[in-house]
C-alpha cells in the first residue's frame, strides 16, 4: 500500500491522541498525576518522533509525487474522502512537528506546575492537528485540521499564559478564524465546480481565470494571517508574549508555517495566473514586513516580543521566496521555513531559560548574564547568529537562496529582502548586548545557575540541527528538489497554456 507497509501517516497523526486519552484516564494524587502525564506525553511524542523517522529514511527523494498515501472513501457521493500523503514539500514539516513536540514537552517539564495533565493533553492534541494538517490530501480534512490546530493553541495560551493571556488568546483566535472563513468559501466553490475535494485531483482542475482572483484573495485572507504577513501580524507578538515558552516554540516553529504551506500547496498550483498577477502585491507586503517589523523589533523592551517581530520579518523572506516561483526561491522559502522553525523555536527556549529563573521578560531587567551563565551565553550566541543568517547556520542557506531567486524576478525585491540582513543584525545584537553582555549589576542575577542537564538535552538537538542544516544542507534540499521542480514546471506549463489562450 505504501512505502512503510502500514498506514504510517495516520498512525503519526492519531497516536498522540491515544497518548492524550491515556493521560486523561490517569487518576490519583495531583503530584502523581502530573508526573505520569509528563512521562506519558514525553514517551508518546518520542515514539511518534521515532516512527516519523521512517519518513526520513524511506521517502523517495527522486519522486515529485505523493508518497505514503492512504485513501479511504468517506463521503464518496460528495467527492470527499480521507486521503493522507506527503510529498517533498510537506514531509519535512511533518518531521519538524514531531521533532519539536518532545522538545517542547521537555521544556515544559518544570515550567508548567498547574494543571499539568490538561496541559500535556492539549499538547498531544496539538501534535495530532499539526501532523494531520501537513499530511492531509483532502481539502476538507486539511481544513478541519487547519482550523482545529487553533483550539489547543488557544487553550495553551489562554490557560497557561501570562497576565494578559485572555486578550491574547482571543486576538489570536479571532484573527486567524476570520481569515479562514473566506477560505472555506473558496473550498466550497472548488468543490462545487470540480466535484471533488481531493487535492491531487483538484490539481487537474483548471480554475477559470475570472474565479482565480477572488479565490486567491480568499486564500490570502486565511494564509496571510497565519504567516503572518504585514499588516495582519499584530496578533503574533501578543500571542507569543503571553504564551508559555513551549507554546511559543510551537507557534513560531510550526504554526507560522501553516500559512506559507497553504500558499505552496494551494495558491500556486491551483491559481497560477492569479499568483503571477498578484505576486507584486505579495512582494511589496513582504518587503514592508521585513523592513517595518525589523525596525519595530529594534524598539522592543520585551525579549519575546522582539523575537516575535523577528519572526514576522523572517516570514517576509519566506513569502518573497514563494512568489518568485523559481527553483531557488521556492527551495529557499522552504528551507527558511524549516530553519526558522528550528532557530526561532530555540530562541524562544533561550528566553524561557531566563524566564524560568527570573520570571521577567524585560530586557532591561538583565545584563551581564555571560558572567554567571557562560554555557547559556554560548548557546544564545549561536542561535543569535543563526537568526542573523550567518553562513554556516541554517537560516543563511534559505535567505541566500531566496535572495538569489528574487534577483531573477526583480533586484529591488532582492534588495528589500537583503536589508533584513542589516536590520536583523541590529536588533538581535542589540538584544544580546543588553541581556548577555554588560556589567552584572543586578544583585539577584548573581545567583543564577547555568544550564541544567535537562536544558542541555533540549538545546543539543536544536544546535545540531541548526549547524547541520547550515553546513551540509543538501540532505534537506534533496527532499524538496523534485517537488519544487515539478511545481515550477507545472506553473510554467499552466502559464504557457494561458498565454496561448490569450493570443
Amino acid at each position: 500500500m505504501n512505502a512503510a507497509g502500514f498506514p504510517l501517516l495516520s498512525l503519526l497523526t492519531f497516536l498522540p491522541l491515544a497518548g492524550a486519552a491515556i493521560i486523561l484516564f490517569v487518576r490519583g494524587e495531583e503530584a502523581v498525576v502530573a508526573r505520569n502525564a509528563r512521562w506519558t506525553a514525553l514517551w508518546t511524542s518520542l515514539l511518534v518522533f521515532f516512527l516519523s523517522l521512517i519518513l526520513w529514511v524511506k521517502f523517495d527523494t527522486s519522486s515529485a509525487g505523493f508518497q505514503f498515501e492512504e485513501k479511504l472513501s468517506w463521503l464518496p457521493e460528495f467527492g470527499v474522502g480521507y486521503h493522507m500523503g506527503v510529498d517533498g514539500i510537506s514531509v519535512l514539516f511533518v518531521l519538524l512537528s514531531t521533532a519539536l513536540t518532545p522538545l517542547c514537552i521537555l521544556a515544559s517539564w518544570e515550567a508548567i506546575e498547574t494543571r499539568v495533565r490538561e496541559y500535556m493533553v492539549a499538547f498531544l492534541i496539538l501534535e495530532t492537528m499539526m501532523v494531520g494538517m501537513f499530511a492531509a490530501l483532502d481539502f476538507i480534512i486539511f481544513y478541519v485540521f487547519f482550523e482545529a490546530v487553533l483550539i489547543p493553541m488557544f487553550l495553551i495560551i489562554g490557560v497557561w499564559g501570562g497576565p494578559r493571556r485572555v486578550y491574547a488568546a482571543f486576538k489570536f483566535f479571532l484573527y486567524t478564524l476570520l481569515g479562514s472563513v473566506l477560505m472555506l468559501l473558496a473550498i466550497l466553490y472548488l468543490w462545487y465546480n470540480a466535484g471533488t475535494t481531493d487535492i491531487p485531483e483538484l490539481f487537474e482542475y483548471q480554475v477559470p481565470r475570472a474565479a482565480q482572483t477572488w479565490i486567491f484573495f480568499a486564500f490570502l485572507a486565511s494564509f496571510a494571517v497565519k504567516v503572518p504577513m504585514w499588516p495582519v501580524h499584530t496578533w503574533l507578538p501578543d500571542a507569543h508574549v503571553e504564551a508559555p515558552t513551549a507554546g511559543s516554540v510551537i507557534l513560531a516553529g510550526v504554526l507560522l508555517k501553516m500559512g506559507a504551506y497553504g500558499f505552496l500547496r494551494f495558491s500556486l498550483p491551483l491559481l497560477p495566473e492569479a499568483s503571477v498577477q498578484f505576486a507584486p502585491l505579495i512582494f511589496v507586503l513582504s518587503v514592508v514586513a521585513v523592513v517595518y517589523t525589523s525596525l519595530v523589533a529594534l524598539a522592543q523592551e520585551d525579549m519575546k516580543k522582539l523575537i516575535a517581530y523577528s519572526s514576522v520579518a523572517h516570514m517576509g523572506i519566506v513569502t518573497i521566496g514563494i512568489f518568485t516561483i523559481n527553483a531557488q526561491g521556492l527551495s529557499g522559502a522552504l528551507f527558511t521555513m524549516l530553519a526558522h522553525g528550528v532557530v526561532s523555536g530555540a530562541l524562544f527556549l533561550c528566553v524561557g531559560v531566563l524566564y524560568d529563573r527570573v520570571h521577567s521578560r524585560d530586557i532591561l531587567r538583565y545584563g551581564g548574564v555571560a558572567k554567571i551563565m557562560p554555557s547559556y551565553a554560548m548557546v544564545f550566541m549561536l542561535f543569535t547568529m543563526a537568526s542573523v543568517g550567518l553562513p554556516g547556520t541554517a537560516n543563511f542557506v534559505g535567505e541566500f537562496l531566496v535572495i538569489v531567486g528574487a534577483w531573477r524576478i526583480n533586484p529591488w525585491v532582492a534588495f528589500g529582502g537583503a536589508l533584513g540582513m542589516v536590520l536583523g543584525a541590529a536588533y538581535m545584537l542589540y538584544l544580546y548586548r543588553r541581556v548577555i553582555f554588560g556589567k552584572l549589576t543586578k544583585p539577584d542575577l548573581r545567583a543564577l545557575l547555568d544550564l541544567s542537564p535537562r536544558e542541555y538535552a533540549v538545546f543539543a538537538p536544536l544546535i545540531l540541527l541548526a549547524l547541520w542544516m547550515g553546513v551540509y544542507p543538501q540532505p534537506f534540499l534533496d527532499f524538496f528538489e523534485a517537488s519544487v521542480a515539478a511545481l515550477v514546471q507545472r506553473h510554467e506549463a499552466a502559464m504557457s497554456v494561458s498565454r496561448l489562450a490569450g493570443m
Partner: protein
C-alpha cells in the same frame, strides 16, 4: 597538508573553547598555539608547493548546495593567490597567538580569548581558500563574527560592546551589497564557482542588466562589500572603534588579515574586474580618497592604537587603488608586506601599553625609550617600513603602487598618484609624531606608572623580533616574485591581467623622479615631525589654535560618526518607535481591537448560553458554516 593548514586552527578553537574549562587555561592556550604552529608549517609547505613550484590544487570536501542549477561545494582552492594568503595568515597568526600568551596573562578567561582567536584564523583561511563566492562569504561573515566576539571580548565595558556591534552592523551594510553581487553573478553566469565564472567572462562582456553593463554592476556591488570589510571611505567608521579589543586582536584582525579581505576579493575577482573599467575607476577613486582621508585623521589622533588604525585604513586605500589601476599583483604585494610591519606596529604598541600600565594616550607617555629598548627598536623598524624608507619592506611595495598609479596615465590614476604622494608624506609625519611622543621628551606619565615601566617578557618579544625581521626583509626577498621578473611564473594565472593591461611593464618605465618621490616625501614627513615634536614642541599647539576649525574637523574624524548618527541611527530609532506605537498599536490594532472587543462581547453573551469556551467555539463554527453555505447556495 592542504586540509591541515585550514582545519588545525578550528581544532584549536574547539579544544580551547569547549574543553577549556576542564583542561585549564594553560593547556588550552598552548594547545591553540601548537595547532597554529602545525597550521603554519602546513601553510608554508603549501606555499612552497603551490606558489614556488607552481602546482595549484583544489581539494573538494563536500557539496554544499545544489538547487536548480545553482551548485557549489565546500572546497579548498589553492592557487598562488590563496597560498600567499594562507602562508601569511598562518604565520602571523601563530606569532600573535604566541604574543597573546604573554599579553593576556593577567586575564580572567584566556581560554575564551584563544578560542576566538583560532576561530578567527580558521574563518580567514576558509575565506582565502574558497573556490566559490558562497564559501568566500562564509569566511567573510565568519571573520565578522570572530571580530565581533573579539572586539567585545571585555564585554563588561559598555564601549567595547558598542564597538563590537558597530563593527558587525557596518560590515553587514557592505554584506548586503556583496550578497546582491553574488545574486547578480548567478543571474549572469548561472554559477558562482570561480572557475566557471572566469571561463565564461568573455561571453558575457556585452550583457546588460537594467541598462548597466552586468560586469560593471557585479564589480561595484562586490566592491561595496569589500569597502565594508576593508574599512574604506564611507564604511570605515567601525575600524577605529574596533580598537576597544585587546591589542593582539587589533594586530591580527585590524591590520594583518581581516581588513585585507576586501583587497583579496578584488584580486580574486580580477578576471571580472579586468572587463569592468568603470568599476575599477570607482575602486581607484575610493581607494585613493581613503588613503588620503585616513592619513589626515591619523595626524591628530592621540590614542596610540587609533593612530595605527587610521594608518591601516590609509594603507588599505593604497592597496585598493593599486588594484584599481590594474596592478593586482602590486596590491597583493603591499598586502603581504603590510601584514608584517603593521602587525609589528600593533604588537609593539601593545608592548608599550603593557609597559605603561594600560595607558593608551600618547600625550601621557614620553621618555620611556631607554626603559624598553627592544620595543623601541622594533617600533622604529615598523615605522621605517611603513613610511617606505628604502630597503625596508614598505619601500618596495608602496613605491611600486605609486609607480603603477603614475604609469596608468588615466585621470583617476593621476588622482590616485597625487593622493598617494600626499598620504605618503602624512604617513611619515604621523608615524614619527607617534614615535617621538611615545618614546622621547620628558616623561608625562605620573610617577607611579613610570616606576613600573618594564620590557615585555620573552614570549612577547620573540614574535616582535620575528615580525621585525619580516618587516625588513619581505620586501627585498619577495619583490622579484610578486611584481618583478618572476612574476608570471609565480602567479601562474591566479590573477588575470587582460590583454589591454600592461601596467606591470609600464610601471617600470616611469620617469626617474617617480620612484624617488615617495622616499623624498617620507623623509620630508619625518623631518617635519622632528621639527614639530622635538625641536619646537610649541608649534603643533599653536597651529591647532590657529586653525581650530580644521583641527576639530580632523580630530572628530571628519564628523562621519555624527553624520551617520544623524541620518541613519536616530531616524531608524524614531521610525521604530513610530511604527510600533502608532503603526502597530494604534492603526493596525485599532481596527481589529474594535472588532475584537465587539466579538469578545458577543462571545461573552454566548458564554452565558453555552457551558464552556470550546463548545462555544464549535457551536460558532457550525453556525458560521451553515450561514455561509446557505448564503453561497442562495447566491448562485
Amino acid at each position: 597538508m592542504f586540509v591541515g593548514a585550514i582545519f588545525f586552527p578550528l581544532l584549536g578553537a574547539c579544544i580551547s573553547g569547549f574543553l577549556g574549562r576542564w583542561i585549564g587555561d594553560k593547556a588550552a592556550q598552548w594547545s591553540t598555539v601548537i595547532c597554529m604552529v602545525l597550521a603554519a608549517i602546513c601553510g608554508s609547505l603549501a606555499f612552497g608547493q603551490v606558489a614556488l613550484s607552481g602546482h595549484p590544487v583544489t581539494v573538494e570536501i563536500v557539496t554544499w548546495m545544489d538547487v536548480g542549477g545553482l551548485e557549489f561545494a565546500w572546497a579548498l582552492r589553492y592557487d598562488t593567490l590563496a597560498a600567499v594568503m594562507v602562508a601569511m595568515v598562518t604565520f602571523i597568526s601563530t606569532l600573535i597567538h604566541l604574543y597573546s600568551v604573554g599579553y593576556m596573562s593577567h586575564d580572567e578567561t584566556p581560554s575564551r580569548f584563544f578560542a576566538y582567536l583560532s576561530l578567527f584564523t580558521f574563518m580567514m583561511l576558509m575565506l582565502v581558500t574558497a573556490d566559490n563566492l558562497a564559501q568566500l562569504f562564509f569566511g567573510w561573515e565568519g571573520v565578522g563574527l570572530a571580530s565581533y566576539l573579539l572586539i567585545g571580548y571585555w564585554y563588561d565595558r559598555e564601549s567595547a560592546n558598542r564597538a563590537a556591534m558597530k563593527a558587525f552592523i557596518v560590515n553587514r551594510v557592505g554584506d548586503v551589497s556583496f550578497m546582491l553581487g553574488v545574486a547578480l553573478t548567478f543571474y549572469v553566469f548561472g554559477s558562482i564557482e570561480f572557475d566557471t565564472i572566469f571561463a565564461a567572462v568573455p561571453q558575457h562582456l556585452e550583457d546588460r542588466f537594467g541598462g548597466i553593463p552586468a560586469l560593471e554592476l557585479i564589480g561595484v556591488l562586490l566592491f561595496i562589500g569589500a569597502c565594508g570589510k576593508s574599512a574604506q571611505l564611507g564604511l570605515h567608521t567601525w575600524l577605529p572603534d574596533a580598537m576597544e579589543g585587546p591589542t593582539p586582536v587589533s594586530a591580527l584582525i585590524h591590520a594583518a588579515t581581516m581588513v585585507t579581505a576586501g583587497v583579496f576579493l578584488v584580486c580574486r575577482m580580477s578576471p571580472v574586474f579586468e572587463y569592468a573599467p568603470t568599476a575599477l575607476a570607482v575602486v581607484t577613486v575610493v581607494g585613493a580618497s581613503t588613503a588620503l582621508f585616513a592619513a589626515t585623521i591619523g595626524c591628530v589622533q592621540n590614542d596610540i592604537k587609533r593612530v595605527i588604525a587610521y594608518s591601516t585604513c590609509s594603507q588599505l586605500g593604497y592597496m585598493f587603488f593599486a588594484a584599481g589601476v590594474g596592478a593586482y599583483q602590486v596590491a597583493m604585494f603591499h598586502l603581504f608586506t603590510h601584514a608584517f610591519f603593521k602587525a609589528l606596529l600593533f604588537l609593539g604598541a601593545g608592548s608599550v601599553i603593557h609597559a605603561m600600565s594600560d595607558e593608551q594616550d600618547i600625550r601621557k607617555m614620553g621618555g620611556i625609550w631607554s626603559k624598553i629598548p627592544i620595543t623601541y627598536a622594533v617600533m622604529w623598524i615598523g615605522n621605517l617600513a611603513l613610511a617606505g624608507i628604502p630597503f625596508f619592506a614598505g619601500y618596495y611595495s608602496k613605491d611600486a603602487i605609486l609607480e603603477a598609479a603614475f604609469a596608468s596615465h588615466s585621470g583617476v590614476g593621476m588622482y590616485a598618484f597625487l593622493c598617494g604622494m600626499i598620504a605618503a608624506f602624512l604617513t611619515a609625519f604621523y608615524s614619527w609624531r607617534l614615535l617621538i611622543l611615545t618614546f622621547h621628551g620628558a616623561p608625562r606619565a605620573d610617577h607611579h606608572t613610570m616606576e613600573h615601566v618594564h620590557e615585555s617578557p620573552a614570549v612577547m618579544l620573540i614574535p616582535l623580533l620575528l615580525l621585525a625581521v619580516g618587516a625588513v626583509l619581505t620586501g627585498y626577498i619577495f619583490a622579484p616574485l610578486f611584481i618583478g621578473e618572476h612574476e608570471h611564473g609565480f602567479w601562474h594565472g591566479a590573477i588575470l591581467n587582460a590583454e589591454h593591461n600592461h601596467i606591470l611593464h609600464a610601471m617600470h618605465e616611469v620617469p626617474a623622479w617617480v620612484p624617488l618621490a615617495p622616499t623624498v616625501m617620507g623623509i620630508g614627513g619625518i623631518a617635519l615631525a622632528y621639527v614639530f615634536y622635538m625641536l619646537a614642541p610649541g608649534i603643533p599647539g599653536r597651529l591647532a589654535t590657529a586653525f581650530r576649525g580644521l583641527y576639530l574637523f580632523l580630530l572628530n574624524k571628519w564628523y562621519f560618526d555624527e553624520l551617520y548618527d544623524a541620518i541613519f541611527v536616530r531616524p531608524a530609532r524614531r521610525l521604530a518607535m513610530v511604527f510600533w506605537k502608532t503603526g502597530d498599536a494604534q492603526i493596525i490594532d485599532g481596527m481589529p481591537n474594535g472588532a475584537a472587543s465587539l466579538a469578545v462581547g458577543v462571545a461573552r453573551g454566548a458564554v452565558r448560553i453555552q457551558t464552556g469556551r470550546v463548545a462555544n467555539y464549535a457551536f460558532a463554527m457550525i453556525i458560521g458554516l451553515v450561514v455561509f453555505v446557505s448564503l453561497f447556495l442562495i447566491g448562485r
